[in-house]
Symmetry: C2
Subunit: 434 residues, 2 copies
């Protein structure tokens, strides 16, 4: 348990964070209770702090922004692994997902939010079903999220019309929450599961509502089938359907070629790298990061769902991204640590239109503290240590929207969420395999 | 801090470990104070425990066996990264290593032992210089290690003779310690740094002393140069020099071909997979694990030194091994979680001739407990959760040789080691760059 004052948790308060390191230098941060960072400096004298957090030499970083997740799938962590992709989906994942109730979705998202807070993520970009139940979990957890219903019409016009109605209702319900931490989005699943009318409708709806559009692109090589069906590559087809814009967030993107990358750059598309999931599921190629970077595309980072990763730890994801890029493109200078950190934080915030990912006055107070421990010693380079040498379990304190969600590794209510979500997960699988 | 009885640490005592899960089932383990596991069962009634450890639902695993390390290099964690290999070695690592004192070696090894205990490693296979100072750290830490002086003669006969003398003295000194946790070994660095007489001498010395021989093999593609120099591939050349035997532990081995693998299998060579280091340094190819497995070669796992990883966490290494193998060889069924765990524990113990890596009566009491936490929930498959979903920082308790080295995340003396090794590391770099 913890010695921490329980009043510190969950609400925006005037808080001074002291005895920390920022970019390797001693620093203090003051949060003025508005949800923003009020001041940052070596010593902050002018403050009105109700609470003081002693970082004990911890490194302050912007909260991680997980740009591709399916949070309720945390219920299926470790349920099945090490199988061929289609067999895994068709015999394990889909039959189980078919039994998901609203309560399951809620508890899966609760478990995911808990893991993200534990491992230093303050914002996630989620795509799944029954998103109002995810929103309930996000609301309670105090984390920030962009939540999108995932449209799959399979080329069936009647299904398309139903999906549009669910999508509209989801966005309206999420907006009605009027919670500034919850951003509605729209998600056509992928080119091979959504019709042309589905893609066009999602693109127009995203434009009308001015909300992000989150889609799977080229996780495996979708181009041969797309060329067969539509006479063009996936990127061109998406552009033809109006999907590519600066609201578009494209997950995976392993199989983009040079023309696709130019098109993505022209349209202002954001790309999400999902290295662990891509490796675990053997998708065959790594994100062409060097070319994307050269073209000026905004590259971000995501874990994918916990059943294909199997965690939501963005620290592990940063390390895997940085070493996979070096290995696959055969150059140890690709994606240095500081770039991995930017990709995992600032770039995601930019894509979602959130004023976060930077620790400076005026930015949202989405801040984490990585405790001083054996994997962060010696501290020659705190960024290198964060990216290459530690895991999210070294995060000691997580602050989102100016409210403390975790301190000294303690999250109020964590034990109940673990116990309940475990029961919910086993009950789901029992029903699905009955 | 901890509420744990301080008397529990550091000595072999009669200890009952209860409320744990073993292979997913409820279990208890009794250690009878001999250093061995006395009994394992659902409920152990017949015991004489002086201490009782309540696992609170933790998963018991065999301690990890890190089969390729350079422990003193922990001092250089994060000192330089993201550089081309030769530039990194020649401008950063070698000039700094040239200033290492015996005290630096000792404190670097102390830091490494601390990290390994913290992250669930109970045995490591180490190759470096001034190994008696590493032995001192190992002795004090309570961990188990095979320690080898690293011979580099560069084809210079005079240097060769000096190196032989250092090697003999090192082995004699380590043997004189008469500490059953310390195994002496012999390490010719690699084919490109050690002469034929050096390789032959090491092979004969290893046979005479009946101790492991630890060598770098084919980290990058060493074959073209070896063929040019000796008319044969690296594996053949090593065999020609008498190096390949069941005492030989070959690290990296990324570039072995089918003939090399057959030869390794025939000679009983153990191979060490170092996936994180290989990826970070862009060595160009992944270990041919499917072929090694098919040939029956004993494959083990190692982190390499902390300046090319940058941690010594075998949990991260297991995950990276399992997903790299799937990705590189394009098959998601390669190296399932249970295989990754065996590679990281039992196979390493076998190679070092240690009766560990299995939790069963009669085996050495080298045991770790992975605490029940958010990344191990739900517990459909505790092995999958250990390999894919958590990091070594989730390890709660580490027991080596029947003595508790960490409990509830607490390691006696940890803070002093962190503070001192940090000072030592900065002082080393100050001297090296003065």
């Amino acid at each position: 348990m913890t010695q921490t004052d329980p009043d510190i948790f969950g609400t925006k308060t005037q808080t001074l964070i002291r005895n920390i390191r920022l970019d390797g230098k001693p620093a203090e941060i003051y949060l003025d209770g508005t949800g923003n960072i009020a001041s940052v400096g070596e010593k902050i004298k002018d403050h009105d702090a109700e609470f003081i957090i002693d970082g004990n030499g911890a490194t302050a970083l912007p909260g991680m922004v997980n740009m591709h997740a399916h949070s309720p799938m945390s219920l299926l962590r470790g349920y099945s692994d090490d199988m061929p992709l289609f067999e895994w989906l068709s015999t394990k994942i889909w039959p189980t997902e078919a039994h998901l109730t609203e309560s399951d979705i809620y508890w899966g998202a609760k478990l995911a939010c808990l893991e993200m807070i534990r491992t230093g993520t303050t914002t996630f970009n989620d795509m799944y079903f029954m998103m109002n139940n995810v929103a309930e979990a996000v609301d309670e957890a105090g984390i920030r999220a962009c939540l999108s219903y995932c449209m799959i019409d399979g080329g069936d016009h009647e299904k398309f019309e139903k999906e549009c109605s669910v999508m509209e209702k989801t966005v309206a319900t999420l907006k009605a929450r009027a919670n500034p931490r919850i951003i509605p989005g729209v998600s056509p699943h992928a080119v091979y599961t959504v019709s042309e009318e589905g893609l066009r409708w999602c693109a127009e709806f995203s434009e009308r509502e001015n909300i992000p559009l989150h889609i799977h692109v080229d996780e495996t090589d979708e181009n041969p089938d797309c060329i067969k069906a539509h006479g063009m590559r996936v990127a061109q087809w998406l552009d033809h359907c109006g999907v590519l814009s600066n609201r578009c967030i494209a997950a995976h993107c392993c199989w983009l070629d040079a023309d696709d990358i130019r098109l993505f750059a022209d349209r202002g598309v954001t790309v999400v790298h999902n290295p662990v999931s891509n490796m675990k599921l053997s998708v065959g190629r790594a994100l062409p990061y060097p070319e994307l970077k050269a073209a000026g595309v905004n590259v971000t980072l995501g874990t994918d769902g916990a059943s294909s990763n199997n965690d939501l730890d963005m620290f592990g994801e940063m390390k895997t991204a940085a070493i996979l890029q070096k290995f696959f493109w055969n150059d140890p200078t690709i994606m240095p640590a500081s770039e991995a950190l930017t990709i995992a934080s600032r770039n995601g915030a930019k894509a979602l239109g959130i004023n976060a990912g930077v620790i400076a006055p005026g930015f949202l107070a989405d801040i984490i503290l990585v405790g001083k421990t054996v994997t962060t010693t010696p501290a020659f380079n705190t960024t290198s240590n964060a990216v290459y040498a530690t895991s999210g379990l070294a995060v000691d304190t997580t602050i989102c929207d100016g409210a403390v969600l975790m301190h000294e590794g303690f999250i109020p209510g964590a034990e109940e969420i673990l116990a309940k979500s475990e029961r919910v997960a086993f009950d789901l699988v029992r029903r699905a395999t009955a």
